[in-house]
């Protein structure tokens, strides 16, 4: 398939845009593949892309039960950052952010990565101390971080509530200037096109319904489009990991929960950064179309439903008004829910499983989107080499049993708290 460039744009414009080729093929599944990736979201597609590009494994299928990017890749709030404190997370997410910085170029597809800065607000002296600690940890790990005082925050984001009446007065904030947003659909499309061009078969409307086992291996997957043999198999199915694992008799340290997100009617540009509220779970940015994109807490009960409930919507709006009072008359355009695989320490699980040729990529909690390229990078390595990459060595499944948790929020084994 042709490269996209200014010349191809001009050529197609002059011919009435009738000669654009499809961005990826729509192949029939082959009887078997060296590697089968279950899940055609960002993580599964990135894994297939790096398997083909970095490891030379091109006999790969990505199986997607619906359409590309119809799961959490198209349901997140598009935020990208690497402002983590603990080493295992910090190095992994920083690698991911570095991959984001070159992703459009690498894919020959504009993912509209916008490094507009991610600012976390602090509302007490204790929170400022905590942010100073996290910022210092980030800088020691080579990640950019700046601690801002109240006046610096006010200059940067004047729309926040700096009034005397503010229920949660703003003391300052922690800024990661290299954080920002990306266009989430473009990420799925660009990775799909990139993987397809390297020979990966992307098979949509193909739901995995069961497995053929032989000893401690999976020989084949049963799907709505027939049985497909697999040398190795990787799960990148976000909130449905628990369901697929149950089909294999595996119990995981995961609960599936629903998280809602929202977009308002479009406005002219007025909110230039990604800002998170420190007093409640709320975060806000403005999309390139002008809509304010925001999210909040989980609905807090186990769910596979991809839809949430009204009390949570009410809660999120209240938090939003406390942070940015000027949006009080704004109307909500759309809201939706995605199913999160909440791990028991709030950090992801990428690595080998108790089954010989099965690899797991799950437990993303609220934060899978930002990890998309990094997740694919280390998961492809784990599958190709049958051993974790140094960047995901700590993110292994057995860390819970060994007591080596990566609990960024220090809240313990309660998924809703992460």
């Amino acid at each position: 398939m042709a490269e996209y460039s200014v010349f191809s744009l001009v050529r197609n414009a002059l011919t009435g845009h009738k000669n654009w080729q499809r961005a990826w093929r729509d192949p029939e599944p082959k009887p078997s593949y060296d590697v089968v990736i279950v899940g055609g979201g960002g993580h599964g597609l990135a894994t297939a892309f790096y398997l083909a590009k970095v490891h030379g494994i091109r006999n790969v299928a990505v199986l997607e039960k619906g359409w590309l990017g119809g799961g959490n890749t198209g349901r997140n709030t598009t935020i990208v950052r690497s402002n983590y404190m603990l080493d295992d997370n910090s190095h992994f997410y920083e690698k991911s952010l570095q991959l984001w910085e070159q992703l459009s170029h690498e894919l020959n597809f504009n993912v509209m990565f916008s490094q507009r800065g991610v600012l976390n607000l602090a509302h007490s002296d204790g929170q400022m101390d905590r942010f100073a600690r996290r910022g210092n940890s980030m800088r020691l790990n080579g990640v950019d971080a700046e601690l801002l005082d109240r006046n610096q925050v006010k200059k940067m984001v004047p729309h926040l509530d700096f009034s005397e009446e503010a229920r949660f007065p703003i003391y300052g904030g922690l800024l990661q200037p290299r954080g920002g947003t990306a266009r989430h659909d473009a990420v799925a499309w660009g990775l799909a096109r990139g993987a397809d061009r390297l020979g990966v078969d992307i098979i949509q409307n193909c739901e995995v319904t069961g497995f053929k086992r032989s000893g401690n291996r999976i020989e084949a997957v049963e799907t709505s489009r027939g049985t497909i043999g697999c040398g190795k198999i990787g799960f990148a199915v976000a909130g449905n990991t628990g369901y697929l694992a149950s089909r294999l008799g595996l119990k995981l340290p995961i609960e599936s929960h629903v998280l809602q997100a929202f977009v308002s009617e479009p406005l002219k540009p007025f909110f230039d950064h990604v800002v998170t509220f420190g007093a409640e779970h709320f975060y806000l940015s403005q999309s390139d179309k002008g809509g304010l994109v925001f999210g909040g807490d989980l609905d807090m009960y186990n769910s596979y439903a991809q839809r949430g409930n009204l009390p949570t919507i009410d809660h999120v709006m209240r938090a939003g008004l406390a942070m940015v009072p000027s949006i009080s008359r704004l109307r909500l355009l759309r809201h939706w829910g995605g199913v999160m695989d909440m791990s028991m320490d709030g950090s992801p699980i990428i690595g080998k499983s108790p089954i010989d040729n099965l690899y797991l990529n799950c437990g993303w909690c609220y934060g899978g989107f930002k990890a998309t390229p990094g997740s694919g990078w280390v998961f492809a390595h784990t599958i190709a080499e049958d051993a974790p990459h140094p960047l995901n060595a700590g993110l292994r499944l057995d860390r819970f049993e060994r007591g080596h948790l990566i609990d960024e929020e220090a809240t313990g084994a309660v998924p809703g708290k992460h």
Binding site: Y243, S246, K251, N302, S303, A305
Partner: protein, 96 residues
């Protein structure tokens, strides 16, 4: 809104409740020495797609703990009772 039939207060909206989680996990005996039994209790979950037995705390009501059977795919509430009550699972036509 989910409406939970509290055995003490009757049908109440779920915003009065605080979700606790999986009701099938049983704390091992305090003399239990094996790490795997504690690992299972603290971290592992069945996480079913379908009927799920769970505990809710009626924190803005009677402050009692209520056991609820709820479908995690449809959010339909299939039964509720006291923590010691047996709540019948529906016939298994829904997915596990």
């Amino acid at each position: 809104m989910l409406y939970i039939d509290c055995p003490y207060c009757g049908s109440r909206g779920h915003e009065e409740f605080t979700y606790i989680g999986d009701a099938t996990k049983k704390r091992p005996d305090s003399a239990e020495k094996s790490d795997s039994a504690w690992f299972d209790y603290v971290y592992l979950r069945d996480n079913p797609r379908g009927p799920h037995l769970e505990l809710w705390h009626h924190s803005l009501g009677c402050r009692e703990v209520v056991k609820v059977l709820r479908n995690t795919l449809t959010h339909e509430i299939l039964g509720a009772g006291r923590p010691g009550d047996e709540i019948a699972m529906p016939d298994a036509e829904t997915e596990r």
